[in-house]
């Protein structure tokens, strides 16, 4: 693909994305697009830590739920404007990310152990959220309905544009990471921690920064979720379902690539919508689909769809050269 074609393609998709709400007739498709883009954004957050940093988290719900609860509690208990919930969610998600990273990386957890401990952290928070009063315990929290931009309840189309902006910001951020010292060192740590350390890279500090960043981004996603649905409870916030959906997105699309999470989220949600229409909307069925998809992807396309494109492009090189 030539640079010109690439740019044209990008421009066209940008225009299409901006014009989408004008042509989408039903609220259903706007909501579908919102969810797809929200998970493209969350998947990018996971991708920073898991794709570029090589640290697979099985508990990103920890950050998502913390962001969501922070904004919801600030609003219901302290009357904070939900717009301020966005930075608050980032702060809360980042702080929890930093703490989780400090604990697990300090003691040298990696690979499977890191995945297990993140899962356990999320579960601890789920149990706590179920038990303490200020999260509304098992009943959950309702955010009062106050439509309008002022209270960050701009309606489906407004939400669509907000999450679209977030996705663009996250794409830009991933591009920055690929072209910065931070990203170069992070990828070096992913590839070989000892070799990176020998070259003066402080792997521990980098990983903590990556998980804090990823946590902050994920926290913002949680805030948006709670503003859209106006409700949160412990299993929505901290349940394994969210963690799995977040990690599926970049794995399907392509780990450690800029567009992987976006591609992954579109494919995942389109396919799961299709599956829902064929098999009906029984509880659990879409997660069966997610589970099978995860197995199939890792089995046949471990580099994700972006990896498939890249492999194809590489195969073309000798012909052109």
């Amino acid at each position: 693909m030539s640079a010109w074609l690439q740019r044209a393609l990008l421009g066209a998709s940008l225009l299409a994305a901006l014009a989408f709400p004008l042509v989408a007739e039903s609220g259903f498709w706007i909501k579908f697009a919102f969810t797809t883009l929200l998970f493209a954004y969350l998947g990018q957050a996971w991708n920073i830590l898991g794709g570029y940093g090589g640290q697979f988290s099985f508990g990103h719900a920890l950050f998502f739920g913390t962001g969501a609860y922070a904004a919801a509690i600030a609003q219901t208990a302290f009357g904070l404007n939900p717009w301020l919930g966005l930075p608050l969610g980032a702060l809360a998600g980042g702080a929890v990310g930093w703490a989780a990273g400090y604990l697990s990386f300090r003691y040298g957890l990696r690979g499977s152990y890191f995945a297990l401990v993140t899962l356990a952290f999320a579960e601890v928070f789920r149990i706590l959220a179920n038990a303490v009063p200020f999260t509304g315990a098992g009943v959950g929290l309702f955010v009062p309905l106050q439509p309008g931009w002022a209270q960050l309840q701009p309606g489906p189309i407004g939400f669509y544009y907000i999450v679209l902006a977030l996705v663009f910001a996250s794409l830009w951020f991933a591009w920055r990471i690929e072209n910065s010292r931070f990203g170069a060192q992070l990828m070096a740590v992913r590839e070989n921690e000892a070799a990176a350390a020998a070259l003066g890279v402080d792997a521990y500090a980098l990983k903590v920064r990556a998980i804090a960043l990823s946590g902050a981004m994920t926290g913002v996603g949680g805030v948006l979720y709670v503003q859209f649905y106006l409700y949160i409870d412990p299993s929505l916030a901290y349940g394994p379902g969210i963690s799995v959906e977040i990690l599926l997105v970049p794995i399907i699309g392509g780990l450690g690539t800029i567009f992987g999470p976006l591609i992954g989220s579109i494919v995942l949600h389109a396919a799961s919508e299709l599956a829902r229409r064929i098999m009906g909307d029984a509880p659990g069925i879409h997660l069966v689909f997610y589970g099978v998809l995860l197995v199939v992807m890792v089995r046949f396309l471990p580099d994700g769809l972006a990896g498939l494109l890249r492999r194809k492009r590489k195969a073309e090189v000798p012909r052109n050269a």
Binding site: N179, A184, M187, A188, E191, N192, A197, L199, G200, V201
Partner: protein, 245 residues
């Protein structure tokens, strides 16, 4: 410039390095030799923070660096390579070297440019965009050196960068190492290729079963009976002496 004093490193009951001392003067090329399993790599690791010495001290550039983290030691300008090569497999050669360059150069474009220069200096100019995982053994050994050099070290520890290379490749790398020194970087190398050790180094240390058994110029060390014995087995020096007598 670098001084290890009475360094001991144990793994469980096994004493890998015992009371070993060595000194590297600024601007020199020093070799550390010894039979397989003598503890050379362990001593390297103990000096660069990858193993914490059980006792003894390491001083670099006038400061005590014993027990510092590997990255802290690298930042001070003491950088090692790995005997078992450790490339960042998914990254290109240029990106690999740039990780080293980033130690002193925050700017991405400048680091990549510097990586290109160093690759050319080491004769890797035509491999820049190749993924490191696709390199040959010789290429990977060179990449180890290139990455370490890119950090602009004051002292570079080269761990068997010639092992597994053919004679032509060795002849290529010897002048490269000399050029590194001439450009201002002190060199300490572990090497089995005696031809290269004799040609390159000004001073040689011999480690055997964790103990430093000899030091001196290459010629002096090669003449020492205990060194010959360490390599060829007990009694070898006497047998050689009796044969030549």
């Amino acid at each position: 410039m670098l001084e290890a004093r009475n360094v001991t490193k144990r793994f469980g009951g096994l004493v890998a390095v015992s009371n070993a001392s060595l000194e590297v003067a600024a601007g020199s090329i020093v070799a550390l030799i010894g039979p397989n399993g003598a503890g050379k790599t362990t001593l390297f690791a103990a000096m660069t923070g990858f193993h914490k010495p059980d006792s003894g001290s390491v001083t670099f550039d006038g400061a005590d660096i014993t027990g510092l983290q590997p990255h802290e030691i690298a930042r001070r300008g003491l950088v090692r390579t790995f005997q078992i090569v450790q490339p960042f497999g998914a990254l290109s050669v240029r990106e690999n070297i740039a990780v080293g360059a980033h130690l002193r150069e925050p700017n991405r474009a400048a680091a990549l440019a510097r990586a290109g220069e160093i690759a050319i200096r080491l004769g890797m100019g035509n491999m820049l965009d190749q993924p490191a995982a696709t390199l040959t053994v010789a290429g990977r050994k060179r990449l180890e050196v290139a990455r370490a050099l890119a950090t602009s070290p004051k002292l570079i520890l080269l761990d068997e960068v010639m092992a597994g290379l053919n004679p032509t490749e060795i002849d290529e790398i010897v002048p490269i190492i000399r050029a590194v020194r001439d450009a201002g970087t002190t060199v300490l190398l572990i090497e089995h290729v005696m031809r290269a050790v004799m040609r390159l180094s000004e001073r040689v240390y011999v480690l055997n079963q964790g103990r430093m058994i000899a030091e001196g110029t290459p010629q002096e060390v090669a003449a020492r009976p205990e060194v010959v014995e360490a390599y060829l087995g007990h009694g070898a020096a006497q047998r050689i002496a009796s044969v030549s007598a």
